[in-house]
């Protein structure tokens, strides 16, 4: 009997198998980058001697259990939040050492003195929907961002980016340390001009 060499195994289908695996991984991969609204909670310890804040420096936003919005004692729509908050923050009604030289608001004496003193107070009910709460938060952050963008562009007209872009560039790990060093003071100046003072009261129980 003639000796026969073993036939070579056909490897033509290897590609098909590899393709199957490849397609599986392609489909299941979610290169997800999470993003969201960054906030900071107040520390737990009670302030023994809370500073006295004048009513005109507080911008109250209340969201009730039916997701209705009460801004400064008036029923408003969510689409109004941003413009009202900007108007309040940028008012600059103070005089003397409280005056604000970069504010472009109406200088209404019955609204906030300057952005450093202006506090936004957000109050919600336990029955408020999270979606609406996030929408309000988003609009309040948008108000700050809009003002900060304006000032950043005014102070750094050559940079070619606004505050939000500069900030995300600063946070990006791929940005070189030299550029970060350059961005940091520019960002801090604008942050100090419009500090985010957003206070959240503990929700009503009912």
């Amino acid at each position: 009997m003639a000796k026969r060499s073993a036939p070579e195994v056909n490897a033509g289908s290897m590609a098909d198998i590899a393709f199957l695996l490849l397609i599986f991984f392609l489909v299941t991969t979610t290169i997800e980058t999470d993003s969201g609204l960054n906030r900071k909670l107040p520390p737990m310890e009670e302030v023994i001697d809370p500073p006295i804040i004048r009513q005109k420096n507080i911008f109250t936003v209340v969201v009730n259990k039916n997701n209705q919005l009460l801004i400064e004692e008036e029923l408003k729509d969510i689409s109004d939040v941003r413009s009202l908050a900007i108007e309040f923050l940028d008012n600059g009604g103070g005089t003397g050492e409280d005056s604000c030289d970069y504010c472009q608001g109406k200088k209404n004496p019955s609204s906030s003195d300057n952005p450093d003193k202006a506090i936004i107070s957000l109050k919600n009910d336990r029955e408020t929907s999270y979606k609406v709460y996030i929408a309000v938060q988003n609009e309040l952050v948008a108000a700050y961002n809009e003002l900060r963008n304006r000032e950043y562009l005014r102070l750094n007209p050559m940079s070619g980016m606004n505050f939000v872009q500069a900030n995300s560039r600063y946070a990006d790990p791929r940005t070189s340390p030299a550029e970060k060093e350059k961005l940091k003071p520019q960002l801090n100046i604008v942050k100090l001009m419009y500090p985010q003072k957003l206070s959240e009261a503990e929700p009503n129980k009912n």
């Binding site: 991984f25 392609l26 946070a171």
Partner: protein, 160 residues
């Protein structure tokens, strides 16, 4: 004419596909390495609300995740349909959040322990009561950096 006659009248030799598997395997390995598998399976509904003033979350090793929402349909008959918190792979009550944060913090490297962010992945239809309770618990353990994880989109999508 015979000069131009093809020698055997045969076709072009077939292009060898022997290296095709190698190329595909290369791609395969790339995707296998780049894939980040979700470390915990979601047991709650998690359609995040939309926002457009978002900032990117920190690197993954500096973030701990807290999920909340209604139990998904698979778990509905067992756990009911009120919104619950999910920590790692199991449902939890509000009081467990503090212990979870401390455990997560202890598991991180020393230099990261102070820069941790808590990402709240909360379903849009949840009531704020639960979220406030979580926030209170976080304050108790001094985990003050918070991120409300959202989808990127216009806020009007949240109102219906």
């Amino acid at each position: 004419m015979s000069k131009f006659k093809k020698k055997k009248g045969g076709d072009l030799p077939a292009i060898s596909t022997a290296s095709l598997p190698d190329i595909v395997f290369m791609l395969l390995f790339f995707f296998m390495v780049a894939t980040v598998m979700r470390d915990s399976t979601l047991m709650v509904n998690n359609s995040l609300p939309a926002a457009d003033q978002v900032q990117k979350l920190d690197k993954k090793d500096r973030v701990m995740y807290i999920y909340a929402g209604k139990p998904s349909s698979r778990y509905e008959d067992k756990y009911g349909s009120t919104a619950r918190i999910q920590l790692n792979d199991k449902f939890a009550v509000v009081e467990e959040v503090g212990a979870f944060v401390l455990a997560e913090r202890a598991a991180k490297r020393q230099e990261l322990q102070n820069v941790l962010t808590t990402a709240l992945k909360v379903d849009g239809d949840t009531k704020m009561g639960l979220v406030s309770d979580i926030k209170q618990e976080l304050r108790k353990v001094n985990a003050l950096k918070l991120n409300y994880t959202t989808r990127i989109g216009d806020y009007t999508q949240n109102i219906n």
